[in-house]
């Protein structure tokens, strides 16, 4: 692992698209994920990504109807993203409706919306498979993600999103802090909680919708929550937690790409017959998961192993007396 080969991930015309794109995507997702995590709404990310799936299919179907081919990639992407944003928002609205008006409990509403929307998505997908077969490959891209085919265009899209997220969190830091801690108290201070809530949910939806291109519908919620879980272990300050989550997100984005490329190369050398390919999206999620696991076990003060060790030291001191 020489320094030059690490650096080449940022310069190589084929590698830089997925690498930088995934890092920016994970940065945005990690930041909005902290807010969801602290509001105890972690599952919202999971529901959103699954609810976006039928939107992806709708986008493809519309593209098919207007005989847009798989070669007109940017137009296709826009249709797909618009569809995903639409059904994702619809999913959020359905959760609100179920909870507030029909008094379905929170977890039941989340499960119900997740599976129903995903069911619609899968049904539409099988339709696409036969009616617009050339576009079906695109559809599969969004289910499991396909970072390797990302280009410089994606760097621009993810860069813009990441900038917007960072700026909004910097501008409204103190409002987001107090309303995440205690929304009613924030309201009593005269803070526009409703409008800020809306902004937060637009950001979350955007992050998820844009993120599914690289890690896929099924794995996206990990990119929201894993960095937050890890960051929470190291600090008692929200500002530090946000910075750490952003850092862990970017680290996962980078090393997910790195391992995907390098391990696939070494596997090809070691077992030329198997033709194993390690996909990037799952590698990013695995790296994020490994960081969280390490933090949960070994973080100073809050880590499980550290607490076990401290307890055993205390116990032996007791015996010594």
């Amino acid at each position: 692992m020489s320094g030059e080969s690490l650096f080449s991930f940022f310069t190589d015309p084929i590698l830089r698209g997925p690498t930088i794109g995934c890092m920016l995507m994970s940065l945005a997702a990690g930041l909005v994920g902290v807010i969801l995590f602290l509001r105890k709404q972690s599952l919202i990310g999971e529901v959103l990504s699954h609810a976006a799936y039928p939107g992806v299919m709708l986008g493809v179907l519309v593209a098919g109807l207007f005989s847009i081919t798989e070669n007109e990639e940017s137009l296709l992407s826009i249709l797909i993203l618009a569809g995903a944003f639409l059904t994702g928002s619809l999913g959020l609205w359905a959760i609100q409706l179920l909870q507030k008006k029909m008094r379905v409990s929170n977890d039941a509403a989340l499960c119900f919306v997740l599976s129903t929307f995903f069911g619609v998505g899968v049904t539409l997908a099988s339709d696409v498979q036969f009616s617009f077969t050339p576009l079906y490959r695109q559809v599969m891209t969004y289910l499991y993600g396909q970072a390797a085919t990302m280009t410089d265009v994606h760097i621009v899209i993810y860069g813009t999103l990441a900038c917007v997220v960072v700026l909004i969190i910097l501008w409204f830091y103190k409002e987001l802090q107090v309303m995440t801690f205690d929304a009613e108290y924030a309201k009593s201070l005269g803070i526009p909680v409703k409008s800020l809530d809306l902004i937060v949910f637009v950001l979350v939806t955007l992050s998820v919708v844009i993120g599914i291109r690289s890690v896929g519908v099924v794995l996206m919620s990990a990119m929201l929550i894993a960095p937050a879980v890890a960051a929470r272990q190291f600090t008692h300050h929200l500002s530090v937690m946000l910075a750490l989550a952003a850092f862990f997100g970017m680290t996962s984005g980078f090393f997910g790409n790195y391992f995907s490329v390098r391990l696939t190369e070494s596997l090809a050398l070691a077992y030329p017959a198997t033709r194993m390919i390690l996909p990037t999206g799952p590698m990013i999620v695995l790296v994020a998961g490994a960081i969280s696991a390490a933090a949960l076990l070994c973080a100073p003060e809050r880590g499980w192993l550290v607490r076990l060790w401290r307890a055993s030291v205390l116990a032996s001191e007791e015996r010594g007396r």
């Binding site: 602290l38 103190k174 802090q177 801690f181 205690d182 009613e184 201070l189 008692h236 300050h237």
Partner: protein, 270 residues
Amino acid sequence: MESKSKESPFVLEINQLRVNYDKTPALRNISLSIPAGLLIGIIGPNGAGKSTLIKAALGLLKPLSGKVKFWNQPLQRVRQRVAYVPQRESVDWDFPVTVRDLVVMGCYGRLGLFHSPEKKDWVATDHYLHLMGMQDYAHRQISQLSGGQQQRVFLARALLQEADLYFMDEPLTGVDLATEIVMIQTLQELRKEGKTVFIVHHDLNTVESYFDWVILLNRDLIAYGPRTAYFTPDYLNATYGHNDALFNHAWPFSSQRQCVVKNKTAQSST
């Protein structure tokens, strides 16, 4: 401050307030007028709508009907003059925030959007932490606080708002005696400065020694006014209904307990 001269003599006026949770009425036809400079206990059994009354007054939940006015103005115009202390159990005490960061939230409303706390806000934060005896905990994470300390921190945050009217939801529930004394002394100081404090209170034994006025509530407004006139067995029976046997049982203890608390208060203030 020219508006102050024209101000209504009442800090809070509630007119025909009605709040429902779905179809169950939580508060029915509440009308009140409260003058300034009083410590007021809001008293009633569980589920009587005490917290609901506070939240409706603060605009935190939408009433079915009725009007709430502060100094004869709607809440939006005087928001910075009204402070709220929520129930301790209503927040996640494992939230990543230190004691000092939590207290400084008290000035967020005054600061408005796009302004961060400045040096003078931090100085005020430290001052109120000190006043509550919490200066040594300033940089601790809030999960490390005991119940009494959590409540002191909440009060420090409300004091930082430097409001004229305070709503406190059960600030004295589950706190140690030392905290209770510190808090009541602080609230009595506020009253001396002409401020008004509403306190949702559960301990009937201490009502006599703490409050100037009482609001007796059980979904309907049973009575409100000076404690001496309305904190009587008759009104309490009307408020607590079938629990009056319990109340009669508790009554003899109240005078003893008051003496203890009053003595402690006297000792600690000298």
